[in-house]
Symmetry: C2
Subunit: 341 residues, 2 copies
């Protein structure tokens, strides 16, 4: 094996004890949190740890604390989606920042397809992480159930679909946010309001459709068109809607990326926004909103904050707070009015 | 604790043995690779595993195989860079695909700053992964040395800087590629060729500067300007170069993103490409190249293939192939000629 794998030069616990002039047991206690050790001794040990560059053997440490100091973040999307949709970056950013405050390592996993499920299950049950955070889950695959029955506590981003999976989750008020978007278009006097929906197997998309129908109980089904949360699908759906109902005067898209795709298509066709067609998105994603022309009216959700909340909920589960298991959080949304509607 | 954390319903090794009508030891051997077990028995056990939905206890399994079935991929960049520079997606894609063929879980880690180093060191030494792949390393921080001395074998993407860190690596021929780019500009009759360099603390950037100087031994230092591999830095450097040497007639940028930033700035100033200024990039990154106007001439490196090679090299290290420790790989580059030069 190569030289770098021997680790021969790493200082031991004994070396730290000798350097600090304390017992091995004292060093061990300090390394594992310092409970019951006098302040002066704690300082001595910490100084020795720093001077020697000692790194605790975490495998041994985890036998004492029963913690690995790592949490898995599982995104149920293929890698090309993760890197092209800024939603994931924002959610991961919130999670990453909050985990840092808990001195916990984030390990990111994603799912190219069902072929990856067994490996992820094995990893989760392998004693490598303290818990799992999962998002962008789809109701038609077995990943949510697999995570739910794994040996580590989990928190989902987004309400899980169907019955049987009872994992605490953090979500925004998708239905209320959608209602507000559509009511705003109604208040502007729009009468033929279309909806570009997200994937039917995700509850966020389902809830936004429900919010649209809450306001427009008798909406023409031809005004509802399916996308998949990508920019391209927004453009495609917009083209199809114009074909079906050339008289439409407003569009509510279930996320900003699809709204941006719709705006591009409308511009190509020479249709003026908002004069001819008003457009509202969902997310208020800087990376998308800053580039649209005209500026996009949208429903804001605090994606980074939701990531942080997922971590806080997981940490309460890890601390054994029983009530946390049923303490899902729904955050509020707000309409941000800009030029497009 | 919530219900999903108990795992009470998970089938045991004993249940699989009973279901298959074989001994517990046979199941264990099959689960760990099946060496020395008759084909018919292997099939029986696999069928029982599938029917019961058995998941091996990987912690126990790893005591036998001494493998965790997981590899850490460490990107030495903050999260916003990872999600905005398509280089990382391409490298990770190659790594991900190759790890899948080895049924190994990829866990992605990144570094927001030096504050994360100790946690990453602890994670690597914690017995959670079989090895580490690291890229976008910077010579001025302690991460490369920290990974090199960790308890797991590592392979770097990109030649490590300085002395002391003797980890096998995969890199492309940065210097040769840069030479080819600059020679191409010379062959077009360009006489005042500028270079927008990458960060000085990365060997890829250093080697590309060296390649530029190999061809233009007496280049005016005013024609060399520093960027940081981001699009914005390419635009800034282009503006500065035009200020210093308004007569420049070509630019070689050390990556495509900076070349795209330079092209945008040239367009803003009404400077024609390639008539007034020819531009060459480095990488041949689809996601960047498809959007530039005019199409970008660039030095192609096989980023995804390099990711795959990193995994192959690591797997040889894990198999104990001693010669792999010094078997770094340098891949070839090639010039792709398009409209910009």
């Amino acid at each position: 094996m190569p030289e770098q794998t021997t680790g021969a030069s790493r200082p031991t616990l004994e070396a730290v004890a000798a350097h600090a002039g304390v017992s091995r047991a004292t060093v061990s206690r300090v390394v594992n949190g310092g409970a019951g050790v006098r302040r002066a001794l704690v300082d001595k040990v910490r100084k020795a740890v720093e001077e020697l560059g000692y790194v605790p053997n975490h495998a041994a440490r985890s036998l004492v604390t029963r913690r690995h100091g790592a949490v898995a973040v599982i995104i149920a999307e293929p890698e090309f989606r993760i890197f092209s949709d800024p939603f994931f970056e924002r959610q991961v950013r919130g999670i990453s920042r909050e985990l840092t405050t808990h001195d916990t390592q984030l390990v990111l996993l994603w799912v190219e397809g069902p072929g990856d499920h067994q490996r992820i299950e094995r990893y989760l049950n392998g004693g490598h992480v303290d818990g799992a955070l999962a998002f962008s889950l789809h109701s038609d695959d077995r990943l949510p159930a697999l995570i739910a029955r794994s040996s580590v506590p989990a928190v989902f981003g987004g309400r899980p679909a169907g019955s049987g999976v009872t994992v605490p989750f953090v979500d925004c008020d998708n239905r209320g946010g959608a209602r507000e978007a559509v009511r705003h278009l109604v208040s502007l006097g729009r009468e033929r309001i279309a909806h570009i929906a997200g994937p039917r197997d995700q509850t966020s998309a389902q809830d936004r459709i429900a919010g649209y129908h809450d306001v427009l109980v008798d909406a023409d089904p031809a005004l509802l068109c399916q996308g998949d949360f990508t920019r391209e699908s927004g453009a495609r759906a917009m083209a199809e809607l114009l074909e079906r109902r050339p008289d439409l005067d407003a569009v509510f898209a279930a996320n900003d990326l699809m709204a941006a795709g719709a705006l591009g298509l409308l511009r190509e066709r020479g249709i003026r926004v908002p004069q001819d067609v008003a457009v509202v998105g969902f997310d208020d994603m800087d990376a998308v909103v800053r580039d649209t022309d005209p500026a996009l009216t949208t429903v804001r959700q605090d994606i980074e904050g939701m990531g942080r909340l997922m971590v806080k909920l997981l940490m309460r589960l890890l601390d054994g707070a029983a009530e946390a298991a049923s303490a899902s959080v729904i955050t509020q949304t707000s309409l941000v009015r800009r030029a497009s509607a």
